[in-house]
C-alpha cells in the first residue's frame, strides 16, 4: 500500500516498508507473503540492481532484506555497502545460506541470518528494528 500512497503524496505506512531482494522467485514470493502477513509493506526486487533503482528513485524504504548470491553487477554484500554509503538511514539485513558468520561480522549490517532460518526469528528481529 505504501508505494501507491507515497506516490500520490499521502503518508506512507510510517517506518514499516521493507525492500526484499531475492533472485529466486518462489522464495521471494513466499517470504514477501509472510512479511505482508506481519503487516509490513513489502516491495520486491529480483536483483541488487533493481533494489538500487528503487532506492535511487526516492521510494521510501525503511529496511532492506537481501540475499547474498544474486546475478547482476552487485551481490548482497555489495548492495549493503552501497546502502551504507548512499542511503545511510536504511537498515540492512542480510540472509544467506552460503556466507560464513565471520564474513558477515566484517560488514556493517543491522542483521544477518543464516539460511535456513525460522521465520519467527526473522519476524521478531524485524519488529524490533522497525517498531
Amino acid at each position: 500500500m505504501s508505494i501507491e500512497a507515497a506516490a500520490l503524496g499521502r503518508d506512507p505506512a510510517p517506518g514499516r516498508t521493507v525492500l526484499l531482494v531475492e533472485d529466486e522467485v518462489l522464495v521471494r514470493i513466499a517470504l514477501a507473503d509472510e512479511l505482508r502477513d506481519m503487516g509490513l509493506a513489502v516491495l520486491e526486487a529480483s536483483t541488487a540492481d533493481e533494489a538500487l533503482r528503487i532506492l535511487q528513485a526516492a521510494v521510501p524504504i525503511d529496511l532492506v532484506l537481501t540475499d547474498v548470491h544474486m546475478p547482476g553487477s552487485l551481490d548482497g554484500l555489495g548492495l549493503a555497502a552501497r546502502l551504507r554509503a548512499d542511503h545511510p538511514g536504511v537498515k540492512v539485513v542480510v540472509a544467506s545460506g552460503h556466507l560464513p558468520a565471520d564474513v558477515a561480522a566484517r560488514h556493517d549490517l543491522d542483521g544477518f541470518f543464516e539460511k535456513p532460518f525460522a521465520f519467527a526469528t526473522l519476524a521478531r528481529q524485524l519488529r524490533d528494528m522497525l517498531g
Binding site: L8, L26, V59
Partner: protein
C-alpha cells in the same frame, strides 16, 4: 492487445501475475492492483513467470505482462506458453506504459474493488516521474 478476462472462475477473486522487467513500472502496477483488492504476484521476466505458473497453489487467473522483456521469451512468447500449458488463464499484454496503466485500470474496474482505485492516468504519471528520476542519475 487484451484478452477477455471473463474466463476467470466465479467466486474467489483471482490472483494476478504481473510480469515486467522494468522494476519501477512493475512495483507501481502491482501496488495499484493490490490497492483495488487483488492478490498480486510479481515476476521480473518470462522465465520467472513460468516458474510461478508451474507452481500449483497460487490461484492465478490473470497474467498481466509487458511485451519487450529480456530472457528466453518476450511477452508474446509467454502468452503462447500460457495458451499451451494453462489454457484457462487470461493474458493481458501491455506493450506501452500508457497501455499498462489503462489495462490495470480496467482490471480494477472489473475486479474485486475493496477500495476505490486511483485513476490510471495517475498511475502512468507516477511511473513516468519515477523513471524520470532515474534518467537524471
Amino acid at each position: 492487445m487484451t484478452a477477455d478476462t471473463s474466463t476467470v472462475a466465479p467466486g474467489k477473486p483471482p490472483s494476478v501475475l504481473v510480469v515486467e522487467d522494468e522494476v519501477l513500472v512493475r512495483l507501481v502496477i502491482a501496488e495499484y492492483l493490490r490497492l483495488c483488492g487483488y492478490r498480486v504476484l510479481e515476476a521480473a521476466n518470462a522465465d520467472e513467470a513460468v516458474l510461478v505458473l508451474k507452481h500449483p497453489d497460487f490461484g492465478i487467473g490473470v497474467v498481466f505482462t509487458d511485451v519487450d522483456m529480456p530472457g528466453s521469451m518476450d511477452g508474446f512468447g509467454l502468452a503462447r506458453w500460457v495458451r499451451r500449458h494453462r489454457p484457462g488463464l487470461a493474458v493481458v499484454l501491455a506493450g506501452t506504459l500508457a497501455r499498462a496503466a489503462e489495462a490495470a485500470g480496467e482490471l480494477c474496474q472489473e475486479g474485486p474493488a475493496m477500495a476505490k482505485p486511483y485513476e490510471p492516468q495517475a498511475v502512468a504519471d507516477r511511473i513516468r516521474r519515477l523513471l524520470a528520476t532515474q534518467d537524471l542519475s
